[in-house]
Amino acid sequence: MKRAAFVGSSVAMVAAAFLRNVSLAAETDAAGLELTVLVETLLPFGSPAFPAIPSTAVVQRIEGLFKLGESPVFQASLRGFSSLAFFSTGDDQLFAAERAVSPDSDPRDLVRRDAAAFAATGLSPAANFQYLKPERKSQYVRLWSQSAFSVRRRFYGSVRAVTFVAFYSLREAWPAIGYAGPILKGARA
């Protein structure tokens, strides 16, 4: 818990940069996959003690802050994420993105490692993220957070960061975590 303003806020906006630069394959039927489905996995809406803030409000706020809907690359990335089959394979775009940031990596080795981790979960490669049961969704998101591909971990970290920025900047979220917010009152706060 250090570099307070720096640590997190920086990571938060990294999302936009990544999403502009990196594209994942978009070869699946991801009709209607919305950011909402992923955001609902990252934050436990409806669980005890969770503030009465609907997921749609958080997604709208993400959109307002980060304009992800205007980014075709982000939409393509999201489709790549939603197709479970893609996690065990990858494509030239993914490999190129990975090589750009870690030139010494061997894509075949990375694919092998992700495929093995995927197989160990028992998830079906034919599935689409949005139709998974909640605990299966979490399992799949965890795979991304520990993927052998740096760019996959980055996608996870970026979406996670923009979600937390949008949610924890809401005054309505603070009572649940015991944060009293600004001392300044009145017009400025």
């Binding site: 818990m1 250090k2 570099r3 307070a4 303003a5 720096f6 640590v7 997190g8 806020s9 920086s10 990571v11 938060a12 906006m13 990294v14 999302a15 936009a16 940069a17 990544f18 630069n21 996995t41 990252l42 934050l43 436990p44 669980s47 003690a49 969770f50 802050l65 750009a100 940031v101 870690s102 979490s138 998101v141 957070s145 520990q146 740096s150 971990r153 980055r154 970290g157 970026s158 996670r160 960061a161 937390f164 920025v165 949610f167 924890y168 900047s169 979220a173 603070w174 649940a176 975590i177 015991g178 944060y179 009293a180 917010g181 600004p182 001392i183 300044l184 400025r188 706060a189």
Partner: protein, 528 residues
């Protein structure tokens, strides 16, 4: 089109730029123009909202290494880093400067109070530092100002025999709101915006903010190039900024001396896109970041953590042998949420304990490597920061992580949390349940984007060295092979200055300002 003529153009109003501007105004009659890329936000703008105040940071806080792994924070507003930092003040370390003298053939920078470097009366680093400390009211906080978080850190250190010390802070009249990092709403933090910048303005320096410099201009001067000014763009004034002294639109500035003080990311980027001669491929190379790894501990009781002075204690116990400091600081919720690992219910449960968290971090003095570099990318319009942690630095961070786990348990935590998604413990996470689990830190790989390591101290990307094979600039900060162009900020350090750099940068700037004043004929003979 804004068209300006002046003697000295200074690019950047942070630790270095504002200080050197004020010093030139104090000691000379030169006309000085100070340009700042960011807006001029003052105390009246700082609303203590974590999200709103991200506008104070470079790329709205989104600047990172090219692989997205390490956020590289920097202030991009009047006052630069001094507006958004935690007021942590460390004097320049004589051993570091002496090593630079040996390894980079640096000259001057005497630590003796009686030295007259370059034959300039009273020019030495000791005098420069004394001025800075006085102007910025650098002092240690009182015991009564130490909050729970810092007290717990100190207790944990002491109970393990790890010495902890009070930071010094550049503050005056702090009320302990805990929002140093979001800009001080009370002008109690004595950054350059409220100190040297005000001196400079009073003494006639012209400040133009919202002003990005695209290019430094040169003309041939015999076998050398001479810097003769710069051009750029003034952006429309953003809401909440104080008014500007020039209209938005293109700007061109003729100057006899151009001083680049844009910080260790923007300064090399500016030199790069200005095509400054670089025969030995030095621009941007050897960047150091002070990679920092945080830890949080969960306690059984509520703690004053985000209120009060954010940082009161640090430890340099491991500094000599392992090259890192432990520094106590804390996050507001957005940063805390991003730092804490995981997602879903697990993550929210950690956040529900926010008021029972204590935290600090390890700041590593990283090993310079030529492959770590800043360059300019015309395609993206942003500086590109290529940086990888070296294997020895990763090993030192593993060691630091283990010591942090031990310390936070010694201070009474029931759980210790690293900012990592790596499956370190038998439970497949980075949440430790006892000090005896500290050894699991050995498993940290520090693969990019899996463990959060961050930076707020970019340095050493336009190094000073009398040897042009080792550095871009000589000890005066003059770029080799170019006249009228000086680099003066953290990029000019040959390596890490060894601690949080603000005061060292300000001392360097005060020193160079007094030197330039004493050697005016070297730069602006035509106007004397």
């Amino acid at each position: 089109m804004t068209d300006i003529r002046c003697d000295v153009l200074i690019v950047g109003s942070g630790s270095a730029g504002a200080t050197i501007a004020a010093t030139l105004a104090e000691y000379t009659k030169l006309s000085v123009v100070l340009v700042e890329k960011g807006p001029y936000y003052g105390a009246e703008f700082f609303n203590q909202r974590e999200l709103d105040m991200m506008v104070l940071l470079a790329q709205n806080g989104g600047r990172s290494t090219v692989d997205g792994a390490i956020p590289v924070a920097g202030g991009e507003c009047v006052g630069g880093g001094t507006t958004v930092n935690y007021a942590l003040s460390f004097d320049p370390i004589p051993e570091v400067w002496n090593r630079w003298r040996r390894q980079y053939s640096l000259e001057g920078f005497s630590f003796s109070d009686s030295a007259n470097d370059y034959g300039v009366e009273g020019l030495n680093l000791a005098a420069a530092l004394r001025d800075i400390r006085k102007r910025c009211n650098v002092h240690a906080p009182a015991d009564s100002e130490v909050n729970d978080n810092n007290g717990l850190f100190m207790d944990g250190c002491r109970s393990l025999g790890v010495s902890a010390k009070k930071y010094e802070l550049n503050m005056q009249g702090c009320i302990g709101c805990g929002f140093c990092g979001q800009g001080c709403a009370y002008d109690a933090k004595r950054g350059t915006m409220v100190t040297y910048l005000q001196d400079a303005l009073r003494d006639g320096v012209r400040l133009i903010h919202h002003c990005s410099i695209d290019q430094i201009h040169f003309e041939s001067a015999g076998s050398e190039l001479r810097a003769v000014g710069a051009s750029g763009t003034i952006a429309p004034t953003k809401t909440g900024s104080r008014p500007n002294s020039a209209p938005s639109g293109p700007i061109s500035i003729d100057a006899k001396l151009v001083i680049v003080s844009a910080g260790a990311i923007e300064s090399p980027a500016l030199l790069h896109r200005s095509n400054v001669p670089d025969p030995f491929d030095r621009i941007g190379r050897g960047l150091v970041l002070h990679p920092s790894l945080p830890i949080a501990g969960v306690f059984d009781h509520e703690i004053v953590n985000y209120r009060g002075i954010t940082g009161s204690y640090y430890s340099d116990y491991f500094y000599a042998d392992h090259g890192f400091m432990l520094e106590c600081l804390f996050d507001h919720p957005i940063d805390a949420a991003i730092a804490l690992p995981g997602f879903g219910v697990d993550h929210f449960d950690l956040m529900r304990d926010y008021s029972k968290l204590a935290g600090f971090g390890a700041m590593l003095v990283d090993t310079p490597s030529d492959s770590n570099r800043v360059s300019w990318s015309a395609a993206s319009g942003t500086p590109q920061i290529a940086y990888r942690l070296s294997d020895p630095d990763k090993a030192r961070l593993r060691f630091a992580a283990a010591r942090m786990v031990e310390i936070i348990f010694a201070s009474g935590a029931r759980e210790a949390i690293l900012t990592s998604h790596e499956p370190l413990t038998p439970r497949g996470n980075a949440i430790f349940q006892s000090a005896s689990e500290a050894g699991f830190c050995e498993k940290l790989t520090f693969a990019p984007n899996e463990t959060l390591v961050s930076s707020a101290h970019a340095q050493a990307s336009v190094k000073m060295s009398e040897n042009p094979h080792l550095g871009m600039a000589n000890s005066r900060g003059e770029v080799h092979g170019v006249s009228g162009l000086i680099v003066c900020d953290s990029s000019a350090f040959p390596t890490s200055c060894g601690a949080n750099p603000m005061i060292a940068i300000m001392s360097l700037a005060r020193y160079q300002g007094r030197r330039i004043a004493g050697e005016q004929g070297r730069y602006v003979a035509g106007r004397l």
